[in-house]
């Protein structure tokens, strides 16, 4: 009984107090024919020693390749203090702070987080987190519908650079409420919005722009934001928090600023760990506070007049409003937000700038080096942050396999998204000049060993 403290004596006494003979008697209201005897596909218990060894063997299979993939999840240095503190029992094993007085630690952390993320995005208020960046787009779209109630089209227009997975997730979640997601036209030289071909009279609920885009490009955020507002749409930004150390904050896009900003919080101190747990962040203009999904922490005072923190605006939420809630979200990604708050504190603005610049610098180095290889060129003109799409004249899957065998994850094959053989690469601050050189050399060797597409 690994985690159960009961002695036989305890059990005996407890049964006696209850007035039954056996634990099985406690299940007497359950129809006998439903009961099972034995789980058949759950193996026997392993001790912690056994399971540790076993998991280490499993982990070893996956190895620790050098990773140049980005595409929504990024390898960054995470200060040791972040998880040392976030996994302290008091954070790690607490529940959602329903009893505010006994949860001031978690609540104050969230209040600080909300402050930091509004500062980064340049918007007024933030919630306490959503599941991840992709589902945050679904929530933001539904929020746009609630805010933009007079627009009945249900049409959300996505810039060409919005992560295709985000689109899929948003459709899966928000589709049931009649939302449709459509792409704005692409300028194929830049990969960005083709402003000349923007639809007229499309009556959009919202326009979504991802900056930097999924394919690594940077778009004219001001122009599209103003266009959205001119067309009666809410402007939703999808942003990478690290990039906001350098790039214009959504709150300052266009003449009025974006209305809602969302994104994937993972770059802020969360390990990549196969895709989660991460967290979605969401900020918006203050006037939309009551349409926001998710938990929100507010500062208030106690009986003595001292400051304190509590969950607030709960009337938006499922446990109060039930079928009229702004969302069904309940448990969010609290611990990740704790980690991100510690991360942002340790980095500070200047630290984030240095991280962002180093990412940009490394990716530029890498893109330049790879573009110098015969058969490799940049897919799009224009500026980028820390990801670049490359056009290749060889089959990407073969290249990726060769490099994976050399323990290099060379990037993500985005051929199916862009429609021609293309590779999306990323080099964060974790890569040294030497790493980049190793990669370029390996890449050019791989290129040399594979036939061109035409051949």
């Amino acid at each position: 009984m690994p985690f159960i403290p009961h002695t036989e004596k305890d059990t005996r006494e407890m049964l006696q107090t209850i007035g039954v003979n056996s634990i099985d008697d406690l299940f007497d209201e359950i129809p006998t024919e439903l009961k099972i005897d034995q789980l058949e596909h759950v193996p026997g218990a392993l001790s912690e020693m056994e399971v540790s060894r076993f998991m280490k063997q499993r982990a070893k299979i996956d190895g620790s390749p050098m990773c140049f993939i980005g595409a929504g999840a990024y390898e960054h240095h995470i200060p040791t203090a972040v998880w040392d503190i976030a996994t302290r029992g008091e954070f790690y094993s607490a529940y959602t702070p329903y009893q505010a007085e006994a949860s001031q630690g978690t609540l104050q952390v969230i209040y600080e987080y909300q402050t930091m993320i509004t500062q980064l995005t340049g918007l007024d208020i933030s919630n306490a987190s959503l599941y991840d960046g992709a589902s945050a787009l679904a929530e933001a779209s539904l929020m746009a519908v609630r805010i933009n109630r007079h627009v009945k089209s249900g049409r959300v227009l996505l810039a060409p650079g919005v992560n295709p997975i985000y689109e899929q997730v948003a459709s899966a979640i928000a589709g049931a409420q009649g939302l449709t997601f459509e792409r704005l036209p692409t300028d194929i030289t830049t990969g960005n919005v083709d402003f000349d071909l923007l639809p007229k009279d499309s009556d959009p609920v919202a326009v979504v722009l991802q900056q930097p885009s999924y394919i690594g490009t940077l778009d004219d955020v001001n122009r599209l934001t103003d266009w959205a507002h001119a067309n009666g749409a809410l402007m939703i930004s999808v942003v990478n928090p690290i990039s906001l150390a350098l790039l214009k904050a959504p709150g300052h896009w266009g003449s009025e600023g974006a209305d809602v900003a969302i994104g994937e919080g993972q770059p802020l101190g969360i390990p990549m760990s196969s895709g989660g747990p991460y967290f979605g962040f969401m900020t918006c203009k203050k006037k939309y506070a009551r349409q926001m999904p998710g938990r929100i922490v507010g500062r208030t005072t106690d009986l003595d007049g001292n400051l304190g923190y509590a969950l607030t605006l709960q009337a938006r939420e499922q446990h109060i409003r039930r079928s009229k809630a702004t969302s069904n979200i309940c448990t969010n990604q609290g611990l990740m937000v704790t980690a991100a708050t510690i991360y942002m504190s340790l980095l500070g603005y200047e630290g984030l700038v240095n991280v962002a610049k180093t990412c940009h610098h490394n990716t530029a180095l890498l893109a330049d080096g790879l573009s110098a290889i015969d058969g490799v060129e940049r897919l799009f003109e224009g500026p980028f942050f820390h990801e670049v799409a490359l056009k290749l004249d060889r089959p990407i899957s073969s290249l990726l396999e060769i490099l994976a065998n050399r323990n290099i994850l060379a990037g993500l094959d985005i051929t199916s998204f862009v429609g021609s053989d293309a590779l999306l690469i990323c080099a964060t601050e974790t890569k040294t000049q030497e790493d980049i050189e190793v990669f370029i050399t390996a890449f050019s060797e791989a290129m040399a060993s594979v036939n061109t597409n035409s051949a």
Binding site: I23, E90, E101, Q104, A134, L247, S273, D304, H360
Partner: protein, 491 residues
């Protein structure tokens, strides 16, 4: 912590030019990004040193109650011991450092765990398929209802848009139904805590898409006519959704699949002990029976034999063309899934059963003791499941001692309060879930604390101003909602 010490905000410690220098690279040359795309304001992140940061957040942590420090009998939340090994093993560098889009050649270790987790969860729920991608209970519900809808749609059954929920249902159930574009039909609870079967019969009809139940219900009792309910709903063409938040009550004893449920979500952060983290992350893996297999959310880990070896790969749209789609950017809360996997392997098949056995033993013991001490149970005639409800309606009336007062008084006794005011139908209720990992002594001491509060109240002690010993006194929730202060304004 010293509760009298004022908590500064991290921003109060901020000074221009201060930072934790070891944590970022040195500056590199300016970027090549056009200036019109660049930001020209300075976001006010805290500018603090590493020692300040460590101290600030360490001290903040001490302001929390948690499972690692207090008994935390929060009903419906399953606050049980979170074994430390689960965390350590999920964070093994290869797992923590694995890019979600990495090739399967560098993911067979992780994927084999996920595959086996799927298999174990099938067994535990009695289901035919499991998808691990939902990121919390509510998202699991969303996946479930979406599958139910997809099922009806695929059969051309377009009118089925009603989801039946008992009035005791957790708020996420009706909220989820709404998000899935359904209407909610609420059915009342009978006097003994079972669903009001006659009312249910009236609620069922050709528009019924399905029913969302948890069994044992949020009232802490087992729905005895579950088979009748299933027959009724199925007979009317609807499907049965099992809200797995209460799986801890029946783990290894009864399986939702055997009760004829068609779909279930599990809160791995409850039953399988992944940490609640002060509000997540969770994981709401879903299980389905044959009917709903084609609709499962992707990705799912599949396995095939290649040259005599098992190869794990991702099942995607191509494999499940009728899938309701993707619910997360990658693979749900993968690291949470790993933690649950480790926990399940440590429990083993016998350990699973013991979970529900001792969770039930603890709940029944505690309810017996409290009843003996004069507290009124909401359903005194019923066996408690893994949780049970005390109603303080008499105390509220005669002593002006509400459930809220009681909860705050318990904090001063160093116990986290049970869930209050849920389920909504029981007046002044405390929903108490001790879980299997608490000892008899802890339960006995908790009973003593409950009695002390009640006795004091009878002697005229007021608890309106409790708590007294926490870092803050009772907080003004109304002010919080009226005078919104949701982010610090650095001057």
């Amino acid at each position: 912590m010293n509760s009298h010490v004022k908590s500064e905000l991290i921003f109060d410690k901020s000074r221009n030019g201060r930072r934790a220098f070891a944590q970022a690279p040195n500056a590199v040359k300016a970027s090549k990004i056009p200036s019109k795309l660049m930001r020209n304001d300075k976001p006010r992140l805290p500018e603090v040193s590493e020692p300040q940061t460590v101290r600030h957040f360490t001290r903040l942590s001490q302001l929390n109650f948690s499972i690692d420090t207090q008994f935390y009998p929060l009903g419906s939340c399953t606050m049980k011991h979170n074994p430390r090994a689960c965390n350590a093993l999920a964070l093994l560098p290869e797992f923590a450092g694995r890019h979600p889009l990495g090739p399967i050649s560098h993911g067979q270790g992780f994927m084999s765990c996920m595959f086996e987790l799927q298999e174990m969860l099938k067994d535990v729920t009695g289901m035919k398929g499991v998808s691990l991608t939902p990121m919390a209970g509510a998202q699991g519900e969303l996946a479930g209802v979406a599958m139910i809808k997809a099922y009806h749609e695929a059969r051309g059954d377009h009118e089925r848009t009603e989801i039946i929920c008992p009035d005791a249902a957790h708020g996420t159930n009706p909220a989820t139904a709404m998000m899935c574009g359904c209407q909610v039909v609420e059915v009342p609870t009978g006097p003994e805590g079972d669903i009001d079967f006659d009312a249910l019969k009236l609620a069922v009809g050709p528009k019924t898409a399905g029913i969302m139940l948890t069994n044992p219900s949020t009232l802490g009792v087992f729905e005895r006519r579950i088979k009748d309910v299933a027959d009724l709903i199925h007979g009317a063409g609807g499907l049965l959704y099992y809200d797995g938040a209460n799986l801890n009550a029946i783990l290894g004893k009864v399986r939702p699949g055997d009760m004829d449920f068609d779909v279930i979500h599990m809160n791995l952060h409850k039953t399988f002990s992944t940490p609640h983290g002060g509000g997540g992350p969770g994981s709401g893996a879903v299980g389905v029976n044959d009917r709903l297999l084609p609709f499962m959310p992707i990705p799912i880990v599949g396995s095939k034999q290649v040259e005599g070896k098992t190869l794990y790969d991702w099942l995607s749209e191509d494999d499940l063309p009728q899938s309701i789609g993707r619910l997360s950017g990658f693979m749900g809360n993968a690291g949470v899934l790993l933690r649950a996997y480790v926990y399940m392997r440590m429990l083993g098949c016998d350990g699973m059963k013991r979970v529900s056995e001792f969770a039930t033993l603890n709940a029944n013991y505690l309810s017996s003791k409290l009843q003996e001490a004069g507290f009124e149970l909401a359903f005194p005639a019923r066996r408690a499941s893994h949780e049970f409800i005390v109603t303080l309606k008499h105390e509220a009336r005669s002593l002006n001692l509400t459930a809220m007062d009681f909860a705050k008084a318990l904090l001063d006794k160093n116990y986290h309060a049970p869930t209050t005011y849920f389920p909504l139908l029981v007046p002044e209720c405390l929903l108490i879930e001790p879980t299997e990992t608490e000892s008899k002594e802890t339960l006995d001491n908790f009973v003593t604390a409950m009695i002390e509060i009640a006795t004091a109240a009878k002697k005229g002690v007021e608890f309106k101003d409790a708590p007294y010993t926490m870092p803050v006194r009772r907080l003004d929730d109304v002010k919080a909602a009226r005078q919104l202060d949701l982010a610090y304004q650095p001057e």
